[in-house]
Point group: D2
Amino acid sequence: MSSSSPRTPHAFTAGMWTFGRIIDRYATDGYGPPVPTLKTIDLAAASGELAGLDLNYPFDEGVTVEEVGKALAGHGLAAVNITPVIYDRGFRSGSFTSTDPAVRKRAVDLAHESVDVARRLNARYVKFWPGQDGYDYPFQVDYATLRRHAVEGIRDVARNFPDVTFAIEYKLKEPRNRLFWSTAAASLLAIEQMGVDNVGLVVDFGHSLFAKENPAEALTLAHSMGRLVDIELDDNYREWDDDLTAGALHLVETLEFLHVVREIGWEHPLKLDLFPYRENAGEAVRESVATLRALDDKAARLPLEELRAAQAVHDAMAVQRIVRAALLG
Amino acid sequence: MSSSSPRTPHAFTAGMWTFGRIIDRYATDGYGPPVPTLKTIDLAAASGELAGLDLNYPFDEGVTVEEVGKALAGHGLAAVNITPVIYDRGFRSGSFTSTDPAVRKRAVDLAHESVDVARRLNARYVKFWPGQDGYDYPFQVDYATLRRHAVEGIRDVARNFPDVTFAIEYKLKEPRNRLFWSTAAASLLAIEQMGVDNVGLVVDFGHSLFAKENPAEALTLAHSMGRLVDIELDDNYREWDDDLTAGALHLVETLEFLHVVREIGWEHPLKLDLFPYRENAGEAVRESVATLRALDDKAARLPLEELRAAQAVHDAMAVQRIVRAALLG
Amino acid sequence: MSSSSPRTPHAFTAGMWTFGRIIDRYATDGYGPPVPTLKTIDLAAASGELAGLDLNYPFDEGVTVEEVGKALAGHGLAAVNITPVIYDRGFRSGSFTSTDPAVRKRAVDLAHESVDVARRLNARYVKFWPGQDGYDYPFQVDYATLRRHAVEGIRDVARNFPDVTFAIEYKLKEPRNRLFWSTAAASLLAIEQMGVDNVGLVVDFGHSLFAKENPAEALTLAHSMGRLVDIELDDNYREWDDDLTAGALHLVETLEFLHVVREIGWEHPLKLDLFPYRENAGEAVRESVATLRALDDKAARLPLEELRAAQAVHDAMAVQRIVRAALLG
Amino acid sequence: MSSSSPRTPHAFTAGMWTFGRIIDRYATDGYGPPVPTLKTIDLAAASGELAGLDLNYPFDEGVTVEEVGKALAGHGLAAVNITPVIYDRGFRSGSFTSTDPAVRKRAVDLAHESVDVARRLNARYVKFWPGQDGYDYPFQVDYATLRRHAVEGIRDVARNFPDVTFAIEYKLKEPRNRLFWSTAAASLLAIEQMGVDNVGLVVDFGHSLFAKENPAEALTLAHSMGRLVDIELDDNYREWDDDLTAGALHLVETLEFLHVVREIGWEHPLKLDLFPYRENAGEAVRESVATLRALDDKAARLPLEELRAAQAVHDAMAVQRIVRAALLG
């Protein structure tokens, strides 16, 4: 019986925000003290499990790209991607979809800067998470105009840098009640309409659950269209972006996700997207990595012929048996 | 100040199932006695508000297309569309996505028959609601194969009848836990991949709410892509396809939906998709129509310049004032 | 280091509906052919894993209590409880909360008959699942009256049979859009208001998930109030009563539930509540039992001192490590 | 035909947080600049619609109770209640349910101080919103211990001040993934278990929707048990505490809520709980008040005999007609 061929185990990366100060609307004094940019890099390294970071840009005032590059290099960490902060106060009513041309220009300028930073730090791509691009109330926007701004804004940036890879991370809601880049399919459809080759998707397991998708199916779709740029892992209760440790709740669906990650031949590290409000960030990373390694090990030993035979007839009970044997031994 | 130009008021149509016997998994003896095909047409007509029907096919055994056509004509009702029943026991594990070629062939055959019936009854289109096309458990299907079957099955039918219009009605779940044709964007993306011109979308207000979409935005998207074939109305609690009377719960979003219906210049009747389990079907239709007429009247008098000015700056409070003035006087 | 003391492994029971014909509003011709009462008992026994059944009453026309008793005895199956069918067409607008005194009387009469049947079959309790007791639309009912009927109806039955145990199974919705007996806490509060000792709660894992509860917490609460009568297992996507096989999706929460089952010293079998629409019922039972046994074995070996120490300081990462070690080795 | 008797129109109050600086985990620099305590009072007064405020305590450093009292008096605003801030960093892992006795003591001390402030400002009650009392992961807490701390902590405070009214505001989740005080029924059950007379409930319309309750039913229940202390209004998409303006989405359910407010003879002002992230707070208040006034006016004119007659037979279509006539004319 065949099974997945042996492979190098996954490496892991994480968002630098995991190590920073987390705030929410109630603990407005933060769940901990402020953490300077360079300190988040030290903390990420100290977790002992990471190969690289997703870096929010701009950095703290006064911190240079060189300093960040040096801090990363000193710890042997890669810059996975640059994520321009197009979702703070300056963009509270939208970035690329703001109704204010000056704000849209600022989003574009920050994107351009991010490309420059990405090049200097040798990052693989620039990620857009347009969390303020959407609306809150019915009737608030003209949907065609919103769509045009959302699509054209990113398209124009992408056209300016045809050799740079861009990715969009979708989420159903938060902080806006309705986000434009909401689901995998909605985002892929809009990306297709852009007509550019260098924009793709980040599939975040938790965002996919929250969007009422099956993450493994969303991943398959993005890959099949040649638009999969990165993969993020975490967990939640299926109705909000709780950003719990990976595998905290949904082991079966995480296993299936990791199985598809193998099937598509994913070559890059897996990224963690965690918000350990009350936990030690390093512990949250280590716990997630340990869970994902254990699950991936089980994914590697799935009896693929048997699984494919069961899937070929949609035999739910047969796949359950296979999954149970893999997970619970 | 401009407002929508005067127009002929909407006509209304309904699904014939609204007048039939409703069953569920608990009241397996039905919420009422069986209702023969021709009787549902009489009951639909007796509601006094309908211009046509969405007709499930096959009809009761022994009932001919001619008899149905005569019953409709006798009441002055149009056949809006034919909906092949590809979701009963024979298709319990899928229609176009069944793993059994014989079942897939039956789905195709039934689709072909439906085209014939549609032509004979002068229906505007053939509707697919592939409610058994999906899966229930993680790992149960190979997503790429499921997608291929879903897309190619309908594409092949559509290619056989290039002069016939087909439409797909999407829903997030039920009866399968996960349906392939799940959201507006997922369906439009798959329809685009079909590469045919004669397949479009039915946007059902309730299915859209249930899919965590804003229905007005989904409608705008389908229209903008030239894929909007029909519009259905109903209401629910945003997390299941409750099929309550239109406007029962979500007046603001129904008003916005009707506003977009006007903006896109929709020329066809509006269809009701109701399941009045414990209510008189005629009453449920009349109540829905009365609510929709009242709302559409308010939609017609929205101060469009003012609304557009508010939308041009995403002014939530200004649009709230406009909506409140329109709805609550 | 201590761990749970060795115990006899759990026995399992199931609802007889799992082996009957399943119908829904789309496959109105059923997901299979009709299954007579006595045949469901044979099929249950043939699953090879069950010690008893939850029996819907009335049985098929013409089937006597003696015949059922004999069929059960012939297979060595116990009658766990009798569940009067107060949710079919005759009760479509409510059972104990119907506005029609004649319907309320029928509910009471059927409850009385069920007590008689329970006694004759030596069942442990009579279960009410008042799935039609609730409402669908805002303003439809006067809430105080609905509550009074719901509470008094069951209280009066319970007072008539002080030596009989009754239990209520709660669910958030379906078939009514809003059920009166909706959550564990809402039901326990209403049961307390009844002022009788012989009415308790059935905690169904899936209903609890669907009600946005944590099932382990709901179980703890019902037990702490001395109101826990039975426990049912299944799984779902947290937003509908999908009745999937136990452990299909939520292994961690099922493990925690089984841990609490041990902690409270539960002595009765665990019941399965499955609706295998498209699957073989026996297979669904066997798969559920195998998963629950595997999980219970892991629950039995949880390092309790370590776990309690972690819980004593709410240490999420420490409990994650314990759970991971238990589940994934 | 009778209808509600004429009454003085409702007065309105609001949370002072509505006028403060709103922050979330993305716009960590806030949706606007910091707003000092006394300035929020000025802004509340400037809205032109408020009779009083829900005051978070402690105030800004250096601001005295006298200064707050004077600011309120200067604007003719009442102190409705004091809400001790038991949900910021110092209580990030719980207030009354913290595992750290020193933190629990701080919660108690802050509650005592709040009683003192409430007395000095002549506030009607002290409100607990224990938003950090709960947990995030399965297995994280021992549920019985959590419950004991939650119930006993507030009970002890209440016993110390038998002449003071206390109220608990429940919410399903946020900032913890699972809050102890989650639903109306769960909270009422726990309050009953406290065995004190001076602790009741705040029913927040939005929290109730979010908890999958029907707010009008929750209000009826709290009132019927003599535990209703205050009422808050807002709106959301039924799955998160979005804190939109009142009536923004759910007009029918808000109308029903206001109808029940009338039926129970509520004598106090109605409070708004809004988070106008991107909107002017005064505008959000005015818009909410205008909508609630318009709806309450319609509630006042509901044909009560007709409504009661329809409710007496659970006639969904009849109540729909009544609601439609009331709302849409």
